[in-house]
Every structure is written in structure tokens, then in C-alpha cells.
């Protein structure tokens, strides 16, 4: 594939820094050399000698003195090399990308960091981008600064609707969309997962219209329907998928670690962006995850995510019960297929902002009004998004009881008006 037409002006202007490139080269070779190149701090002055991370199952990850020097020193912008290798292997095991040898990986400071870089790389001001709607508000915030035209792609219970997507693309006319954002597994906020048949249809459309797919998949492992769902990356025979994976839900959000997999030329530009912004993801975080994957191997890592998924499934069921008990008749919703959210339509209300921002907050329930998850935030939206990941069963029950009360009040109030 020729990627030239996809790059933004900013991406075309990016140049790697000589010093970072030099640093990568020096790290590659083993021959002794006198290094007066990049300004590395002297490791003898690092104030930490070693670290021990104890896991919940009692196992220990030991970062000894030698490894600790690597943790504390500057590292490659592509990622800590052993971790990059492990991630490549993991991707091969899970997704078997048809073009693995032309596929690159780069470690990022979480998925939003990566998506923002992808937006900067692919979008000039005014460029259209198709986005699955509804979508996570953070994605809108990450893309908007680059000045694109966000064009919503409507969804149903199986994800993006192919016939409507075709209509939308046909309407683009002279200014065709080059990029499409999708969130295939347990979509934030709707909880819908795309079926494999749907993925294939969408992928074919992307090929037909020559579109790069940004596959944002943080809930890949938190899917209650399938063990390991099919991904766009798995279908990608043409090299048009950039896949965004995250450790935030499975290992830790605070370590800020994600990775992008996709066509090497795109990965290379993102790497240069990393060089001139964060430098690289925290090496401490990268080494901890690398050592964890080392200790566990893929199977035990999968066992960990499966047991984590069971816990989230239980939490979802608790919320479903509470919703049936308190919200039946007042609201409509679908049982989420994974993830962390219920997307609830409040019947008889045009918009939920006042309900959530004022009434619900007043009684101590903090949720999100639906308008944050659509492209046209200014239009009325009757939905709300609630998260079941952290609240206890008692809290969920109390919150929905209170929510039902304020919904009734709000409906009375809006009738009066």
C-alpha cells in the first residue's frame, strides 16, 4: 500500500532527532565504543539500586541491579526492546496478522496518547474522519485539536451498520474520508461488540474506499461473549489497520502503557512523534510488564485476564439486577456484552444533562450525560452512561434507587415546563 496520501502536513515534516537515532544504534551493537554522543546521565548516580514487585499470588518480580540501570536510563522511543519482542509474539498468537512481517509495534503512554498521535499523523485541518457513534468522549477530545470533520457512523446491536456507512461515504463526495475510528469490542459507551461478519463487511468497505482503520480495542479481554474475539488486525490482508491495545484495564492504568500495531511506515512516523514528545513510555512500567509476561507466559496472562473478566461479568450482572429493580419502565437498555458500562436511555426525557449534572449529583450519584459521547454535543441526547467497574453492589442498588427518584422528578419538572 502507498501510505503517502494518508500523511498530514505535520507528519510529512517530522524528522527523527540525530541523537535519538544515534542512541538506538549504539544500543543495537555490542562492540566496545567510546560514547560521547547523547547526553545520558551517569548511571552510578541513580538513587535506586533494585526493586521487588510482589504479585497478589505471592510471586515476585525482581528488578536486579543490572536491569534497574536500564529502568532508570533513557530507552528506545520504540519501546523497551524485550517488551517489544514479547508484544510482537503476543500479537502473533492472538491475532495472527496476515502481514506480520510488514507490521511494526511501538509502545505508547496508553491508548489515548497513541490515538492522539495517529490523529496528528493522519489528519489535516478539514479532513473528514469517520467515527463509530456513540464513542468515548476522550477520543473526540484527542482528535478535535487537529481540526478534522468528524463524520458519525451509525451503530446498531452489532456495531457499525454497513449500509449506512456506505451511504455516509458516498456523501463525502469530493473530499473522501481517509480514516475511520472503530471501537469493536464492548464499545464505550454502548457495550456492543461487533460480530465477525460485521467486521468483515466493514473491512471490505474500508478496502473499497481506501480507508485506514484505527482499531481501538481496550476491552478486547473484557468481552463476556467470546474468549478472544476476531480483530480487524486479524483480517488485515492489505495493511490498513492500526490497532491500539492497552494495559490499563488488565494490568494497571497508572503505569500508562499501551501499544500500537500496524504498517511499519505508520509506526515509524509515530515513533518520531514519541521521540520529540514523551521520549518513550516509562521504562519502569515497561520493565514491570515485561517481567510479568516473562514470569507468566501467555497462558497464565490469559488466565489472569479471564479471571478479571469473570469479576467484571459479576459486576455487570449486579448492575443489571439493580437496573431491572429500579429503572424498569423508566429507562431502556441492552445488556452490555463486555467492558464497564451501561448505556441507558431515559424514556420521556429529551436530554439528560440537567438530570445528571444537577439532580443526580445533588443526591450523590455521579454519572455521565450521553451528549458527551456523540459528535454533536449541543444536540439533546436522552442517554446516560453508568460505570459498574468500581461501585459495590450496595452502592449500585442505592444509586439506581436514587436515580429512579430523580428521573421521576425531572420528568415532572420538564412536563411543567
Amino acid at each position: 500500500m502507498d501510505y503517502g496520501r494518508f500523511f498530514s502536513q505535520v507528519a510529512l515534516r517530522r524528522e527523527p532527532s540525530a541523537v535519538s537515532t544515534l542512541r538506538d544504534k549504539a544500543a543495537d551493537k555490542k562492540t566496545p565504543i567510546i560514547w560521547l554522543g547523547g547526553g545520558l546521565p551517569n548511571p552510578s548516580l541513580f538513587p535506586i539500586q533494585d526493586a521487588t514487585v510482589t504479585l497478589k499470588n505471592g510471586e515476585k518480580l525482581i528488578i536486579g541491579k543490572e536491569l534497574m540501570v536500564k529502568v532508570l536510563q533513557y530507552s528506545s522511543s520504540k519501546g523497551f526492546p524485550p517488551l517489544v519482542q514479547q508484544l510482537q509474539q503476543l500479537t502473533e498468537d492472538l491475532h495472527q496478522p496476515p502481514r506480520m512481517c510488514e507490521t511494526g509495534v511501538v509502545v505508547t503512554m496508553g491508548s489515548i496518547n497513541a490515538l492522539s498521535m495517529a490523529g496528528n499523523m493522519l489528519l489535516n485541518p478539514g479532513d473528514p474522519i469517520i467515527v463509530q457513534e456513540p464513542l468515548f468522549s476522550g477520543i473526540i477530545s484527542a482528535l478535535l485539536p487537529y481540526g478534522p470533520k468528524l463524520i458519525p457512523a451509525a451503530t446498531d446491536d452489532e456495531g457499525i451498520v454497513p449500509s449506512l456507512l456506505r451511504e455516509t461515504l458516498a456523501r463525502c463526495g469530493d473530499c473522501p474520508a481517509k480514516v475511520m475510528y472503530v471501537n469493536p469490542t464492548a464499545n464505550n459507551p454502548t457495550g456492543v461488540s461487533m460480530s465477525e461478519a460485521r467486521l468483515r463487511e466493514i473491512y471490505d468497505i474500508a478496502c473499497e474506499y481506501n480507508i485506514i482503520i484505527l482499531e481501538d480495542d481496550p476491552y478486547y479481554f473484557i468481552n463476556f461473549v467470546e474468549d478472544l474475539p476476531t480483530s480487524f488486525l486479524k483480517l488485515d490482508t492489505e495493511g490498513r489497520v492500526l490497532r491500539f491495545d492497552s494495559f490499563s484495564k488488565t494490568v494497571s492504568a497508572g503505569i500508562r502503557l499501551g501499544y500500537v500495531t500496524g504498517p511499519q511506515p505508520l509506526i515509524d512516523i509515530m515513533t518520531v512523534d514519541i521521540m520529540s514528545s514523551v521520549g518513550h513510555a516509562s521504562t519502569l512500567a515497561q520493565v514491570v510488564v515485561s517481567e510479568l509476561l516473562n514470569k507468566w507466559g501467555h497462558q497464565e496472562y490469559l488466565n489472569h485476564v479471564y479471571s478479571l473478566r469473570e469479576e467484571y461479568r459479576k459486576k455487570r450482572d449486579v448492575m443489571q439486577k439493580a437496573a431491572e429493580k429500579h429503572l424498569a419502565g423508566l429507562c431502556e437498555w441492552k445488556l452490555p456484552s463486555g467492558g464497564m458500562f451501561f448505556w441507558i436511555k431515559v424514556l420521556g426525557l429529551e436530554d439528560t444533562q440537567r438530570l445528571i449534572n444537577e439532580a443526580a449529583t445533588r443526591v450523590g450519584v455521579v454519572a455521565m450525560p450521553g451528549c458527551y459521547f456523540v459528535v454533536r454535543r449541543e444536540e439533546p441526547c436522552p442517554y446516560i452512561r453508568v460505570t459498574y467497574s468500581v461501585a459495590s453492589p450496595e452502592e449500585v442498588d442505592r444509586a439506581f434507587y436514587l436515580l429512579a427518584e430523580v428521573i421521576r422528578e425531572e420528568k415532572l419538572q420538564s412536563k411543567k415546563e
Binding site: G39, P47, Y74, S116, Y146, S252, T283, M340
Partner: protein
């Protein structure tokens, strides 16, 4: 000061996300509040139970369960609250900014991230940025993606030349058509690559010019503590410490004094500008790595101000010795071949080879032979199409033996290159 004229189109398009507004409620949670808003993962599902580190003096530092919880979960965008408090106290103590009440601090994933966000916030394509010439190469790379115009001002042994700066700015303002400069990027201490530390008079003169021409100063100061001349004295006053107008954004780094791998830096400056940077961080990394921030905070707490100063004093002594070894090696092997000024700070020696047109090809040969690596001076020159007689040597990591051997190899390399150059010149 009115900051709106400084904000770029990209930055103006940045909007806070709904979630971040709600996040504010979390800073003062009521006990009865039920949080069903943002998608924070359940911390019980993270596989870690305990984190401990061994400090340099063999003491063990273990994170408390609360700290571990903060380290593993999404954190507030401005930074881990205890760390922010410590950084504010340090900044107040070390810089006493005149407009402290109107200042704020944000933690970034390294100082360079803060810089790149600030440039994006302040520069539209084609806008004029004032830089020192030569200038830190990574900043030139960062800027090239943003396509600004450069007003490159020569430096002497005390830093950027104020008379030149004033003349160029006056000219630029007169010729309005090409845009009016808004931003000036400066490295006041141990400048990369020249090693220059600005004198106090120079700092004051540059600040006054920035005031006269209404420029925002980006003060990039990773080598603040690396000054080798004043034995026990504090570093020279920062631009932040003289900022009576509210035009300084100061970038501090832990990379050189604690560790670069942790990726923790911070930016200090006028709140209206920091709010823009904060919105960018929200839609980018969400927060700087929390495990790193918690560790940094614990290190600072463990040290206290006295311990921190002791650590800095050790560091300074160490790098001063490194500098002396470097200069001695250069004197031994490069006298007559190269010219240099002894750096008063930082970790770089900026070497000129007066008889050589361009150091690039020679250094490439040295690197291929795997003898020695220096960075060609060209990388630091704003107009990189010109040949450059300079090169940069970092003396932070090599042992004194390596420095001696390295300068010997370099001398050999220079002599060989000069022979080649002379032979080419003799060809008809």
C-alpha cells in the same frame, strides 16, 4: 498579561472532556457519593500487591497500600497530589517567583513533553520563534514538525547576544509582513550543545527585551543544578525568579538529577497557559506515569530539602570532575587541533575544528570504525544546509581513561581527515 494572542489554532481547538470536569468532584468526594462516571478499572483486578525499592544506601523503601493504589490507578492530570505539593514547595523555595500567586505547576512525562506541548500551544505554522544558534537538536526536530520561522540569534560565552536580539526583533517588528515573534526558547544553564551558562546580567538583559517585545520565554533548564564554578553557592537566578510580568514558562527535569527512565518532569508558569497545557495532557497521556510519580514523591520525601541538597552536591562534584577530566583530555590531545571554551555547567564540550570545513563526514567514519561517537555540530545549527566546524562531546558517562583514549582517537581522526582534505585541495 493577556495570553489569548499567544494561543495557536490547534491549542484553541482543544476542549476539556466532560469526564475531566467530573474528575474534579473526585478531589473532594463526599462519603455518600456513588461514582458511576468515568471508566476507571477496578483496582482489585490489578495483579500487584507490593512494591519496594532499595535506595543507594541499602535502605528499603516500601510503598504503602494507599500509595500503591495511587501508583496503579489513573491519577489527576496535573500530577500526583503529594508530588505536586512538594514541587510547589521546592519551586517557591528555590525560585521565589514574583507572581507566585498567579503561577501553577503541572507534572509532565518528562520535561521534553512539556516543551513540545508548549510549542504546539504557542506556534501556528509560519509563526516566528526566537532560538539560540546553536540550539538543542531535539527541540529543532520538534519544531520542524510545526513549521515555524526561526529567528536564530548567535550566542557568545555568556549566552544569547542581547544587542543582536534587540536589533533582529526591531527589524522583525518593522517588517511586520513576515509575522511578529511571540516566543523565545532559552537554555540558561549548561546549554546543550555549547555548555554556556548565562551570566546574571545577560539574563536580566534578555528578560527586559522579552518584556519590551512581549515575548513568552520558554526556560528549558535541565542543567539548573549543574554549575561548576561557584563552589557552594546556589545556581544563578532563573528567568522564573525574575518574572514580574508573567511571561516565563519554566521546564524542570528529573532526568539528569534522578532518572530519565521514569519520565517525570514539570512545567511552572502563568495559570492561563498551564490550563491549556492541562487540557492537552488530558487528551493525550491523561496523567504522567503514576508509579514513577509516586516513587519520585517518596524519594523527595525521604531526602527532605537537606537530603536533596546533599544529593545535588554529590552530583555536582561528580560532574565537575567529569568536566575536568574531559578538559584535561582535550588539552592533552587536541591542543592545536581544536578550540573550545571550558563549560561552566552541563555535560557537554563544544569543540571547533578550525581547519576543517565540516565535522560530519569525519565523525561518521569514526562511528563506523566503532572507535568514538560524537554528535556533528550541524545537528544543532538552525540552518543545517551549511557545513559546520563544530562537534559536541558529552562527558557524563565516559571514565577518565575512556576520555583520554577517546580524545586520542579523535585527534587521530582529525589529522587523517585534514590530510584527506589537503590532498583533495591539491588536486587540479
Amino acid at each position: 498579561m493577556n495570553y489569548s494572542k499567544f494561543i495557536s489554532a490547534v491549542s484553541a481547538r482543544r476542549k476539556p472532556s466532560g469526564i475531566s470536569d467530573l474528575q474534579l468532584l473526585l478531589t473532594t468526594p463526599s462519603p455518600s457519593m456513588v461514582w458511576l462516571a468515568s471508566g476507571i478499572p477496578n483496582p482489585k483486578q490489578f495483579p500487584f500487591k507490593k512494591v519496594s525499592i532499595t535506595l543507594q544506601d541499602d535502605r528499603l523503601l516500601t510503598l504503602t497500600p494507599d500509595m500503591l493504589c495511587s501508583a496503579l490507578q489513573y491519577g489527576p492530570t496535573p500530577g500526583y497530589t503529594p508530588l505536586l505539593k512538594q514541587l510547589k514547595a521546592m519551586t517557591k523555595l528555590h525560585h521565589s517567583p514574583p507572581k507566585w500567586e498567579e503561577c501553577d505547576i503541572l507534572v509532565t512525562a518528562g520535561c521534553q513533553q512539556g516543551l513540545s506541548i508548549a510549542f504546539e500551544m504557542l506556534l501556528n505554522p509560519g509563526d516566528i520563534v526566537v532560538v539560540e544558534d546553536p540550539c538543542y537538536s531535539d527541540v529543532l526536530c520538534m519544531l520542524s514538525a510545526m513549521s515555524p520561522q526561526y529567528l536564530a540569534i548567535q550566542v557568545d560565552e555568556q549566552g544569547m547576544k542581547p544587542d543582536l536580539l534587540r536589533a533582529e526583533l526591531t527589524k522583525a517588528v518593522k517588517e511586520e509582513a513576515s509575522g511578529i515573534p511571540k516566543v523565545m526558547y532559552l537554555v540558561p544553564n549548561g546549554s546543550n550543545p555549547t555548555g554556556t551558562t548565562m551570566s546574571l546580567e545577560r539574563r536580566q538583559a534578555l528578560y527586559d527585551i522579552a518584556s519590551d517585545f512581549d515575548l513568552i520565554i520558554l526556560e528549558d533548564d535541565p542543567y539548573y543544578y549543574f554549575h561548576y564554578e561557584q563552589e557552594h553557592q546556589d545556581p544563578l537566578p532563573s528567568f522564573l525568579s525574575m518574572d514580574t510580568d508573567g511571561r516565563v514558562l519554566r521546564f524542570d527535569s528529573f532526568s539528569k538529577i534522578v532518572s530519565p527512565g521514569l519520565r517525570v518532569g514539570y512545567v511552572t508558569g502563568p495559570s492561563p497557559l498551564l490550563e491549556r497545557i492541562n487540557v492537552h495532557l488530558q487528551a493525550n497521556i491523561i496523567c504522567a506515569p503514576m508509579l514513577s510519580q509516586v516513587l519520585m514523591s517518596e524519594l523527595l520525601r525521604d531526602w527532605g530539602e537537606d537530603g536533596f541538597q546533599k544529593h545535588i552536591a554529590n552530583l555536582r562534584q561528580f560532574y565537575r570532575d567529569q568536566r575536568n577530566n574531559m578538559v584535561q583530555a582535550a588539552q592533552t590531545h587536541l591542543t592545536g587541533l581544536c578550540e573550545w571554551t571550558v563549560p561552566k555547567g552541563g555535560i557537554f564540550l563544544w569543540l571547533k575544528v578550525p581547519n576543517l570545513q565540516d565535522t560530519g563526514p569525519m565523525l561518521m567514519k569514526g562511528a563506523i570504525k566503532r572507535e568514538i561517537i560524537l554528535v556533528p555540530g550541524k545537528e544543532f545549527i538552525v540552518d543545517c544546509s551549511k557545513p559546520c566546524q563544530y562537534m559536541r562531546a558529552a562527558f557524563s558517562c565516559a571514565t577518565s581513561d575512556q576520555l583520554m583514549k577517546g580524545m586520542e582517537s579523535l585527534a587521530k581522526l582529525i589529522r587523517e581527515e585534514l590530510t584527506v582534505q589537503n590532498m583533495q585541495a591539491m588536486k587540479p
